[in-house]
Amino acid sequence: MKKGSGSDPFAEPEPESEPEPDTNENEGGNEGETDSETEETHRDEPEERDAETSSNARSDEDEDTETESAELETTFDETASTDESTATAAGQQSSERETAVESERNSSETETDAQTESRSRNTIVDEPPQAGAADGGVPWVYVRDNVKQDREMVQFYLRDYVVDAEDEFVDAVSDELGTDVSKTDVREAAYEAAMYNVEDVVERLEAWGFESRD
């Protein structure tokens, strides 16, 4: 059982893909316009090498979404049994489409801003995939059923002095945070934090004796 909202009961026919109504309602010229805007913004970013590949991948994705949305709309039209309700549904759709275009534009702007920001801070690790406390979503720790959910097991080889320090490290983090937190969470958070602090990691490795070649 999930904490938060369940799957959309009236989303057909693929419940797993969680179609976003905004994108689905949007089609035709408008979508192209919005996309090219977004892509241009992306190209401004200093990642020329990958620009071509990634933009190809992106347009493939878009095609998928469009096919999906066409299917979806057919399903809904078929279910509208009377002429009257078809008319209402169509009316609603067109007005929703207008809002959708606007909101998509907004969201793509915000997305780009967020990406720019995170890129300038860090190019290594993405934002966590789940909604978090900051964006008004239900934070992952409330949604998951147990600490291992969504996590892959990775083997770490640690020397004794680090293993011995772990408990104290977890306690220190818990104290600072004001609530108990599991070792599994602390480990991932610490690893993620390190990805934002490459210099510290390098310093540690140098202390262990690694030397740069030049």
């Binding site: 909202s5 009961p9 309700s85 209402t88 059923d145």
Partner: protein
């Protein structure tokens, strides 16, 4: 779109009354709201809202006839407008025999070679979809009886999300654990993800207890924005006068009682939070 089932395993925690208050709050937030009463008992939402539906006329069209594929009219024609700003699809006595009727309809579908398309636990969702109901509303809330069975399964399948009033006692917390098991089974059966939009500790005594129960519910990982204090006078008044809590306070109280206003405010807050978690 926001859809949820109000459900609690333990009876007598004001599930229907809290449900009615939430419906009213959603409507007051300017949303188009439909309530569906799947409870066959006399003390159901339909009675509380004083809706004069032909509940014991088996010839009249009703939700059960649609669920077993023997409708006599359109779903839209079954919907009543309440005086509280939201619509209601009322209960009917045929709901008492829902399990038998669904089994019979299943056998009939099997005989006709259409058995694969007929899922007795997914009928309500199908009926609502086919009638275009989801396109007409922002919020759909289903009130099933407090027992496991086809009423509840159909409600959960059609909404996929739950709001669970919880009795703030050891027994109440136990019933949450029972609910988790039931939902796990349903998720597998329906191949759908079922979520809890909010747990609502309801009928809490002292303020310190409120905090403790909220804490306990949150520790289990459920969103629980508010705890409602014991308000039997208000809730029983609603049933006496057959109306929603806000309507009762407004119309049937000679003076405003601060603690009742506080409860109404909390319910309004809760409705807003549910809308948020539900993505509205």
């Amino acid at each position: 779109m926001l859809t949820y089932t109000t459900y609690s395993e333990a009876g007598g925690v004001g599930k229907t009354t809290v449900g009615a208050a939430l419906l009213e709050a959603h409507a007051a937030h300017g949303l188009d709201v439909l309530a569906i009463d799947m409870d066959q008992q006399n003390g159901s939402l339909t009675y509380l809202l004083d809706i004069d539906a032909p509940r014991d006329d088996s010839q009249a069209d009703n939700i059960v006839r649609h669920l077993i594929d023997r409708p006599k009219g359109s779903v839209e024609d079954l919907v009543f407008e309440t005086e509280h700003g939201f619509d209601l699809l009322p209960s009917h006595n045929m709901l008492e025999n829902l399990e038998d009727l669904l089994n019979r309809a299943q056998r009939m579908a099997d005989d006709l070679g259409e058995g694969d398309e007929f899922d007795p636990y997914d009928r309500l969702r199908q009926v609502l979809m086919d009638a275009g109901i989801p396109q007409e509303y922002d919020v759909i809330v289903i009130d099933p009886p407090a027992t496991a069975g086809p009423h509840l399964y159909n409600a959960v399948s059609a909404t996929r999300s739950l709001v669970i009033p919880v009795e703030p006692t050891g027994k109440g917390m136990q019933s949450v654990i029972g609910l988790e098991e039931l939902v796990d089974g349903l998720e597998e059966r329906l191949e759908a993800e079922i979520g809890v939009l909010s747990a609502v500790p309801n009928g809490v005594g002292r303020t310190t207890d409120q905090e403790r129960y909220l804490e306990e519910v949150r520790e289990r990982g459920y969103p629980a924005p508010v705890a409602l204090r014991e308000r039997s006078s208000l809730f029983e008044g609603c049933w006496d006068q057959q109306c929603t809590p806000a309507h009762y306070v407004e119309t049937h109280r000679s003076r405003t009682r601060d603690h009742e206003m506080e409860t109404l405010e909390k319910i309004d807050q809760l409705a807003g939070r549910i809308e948020e978690v539900g993505g509205l």
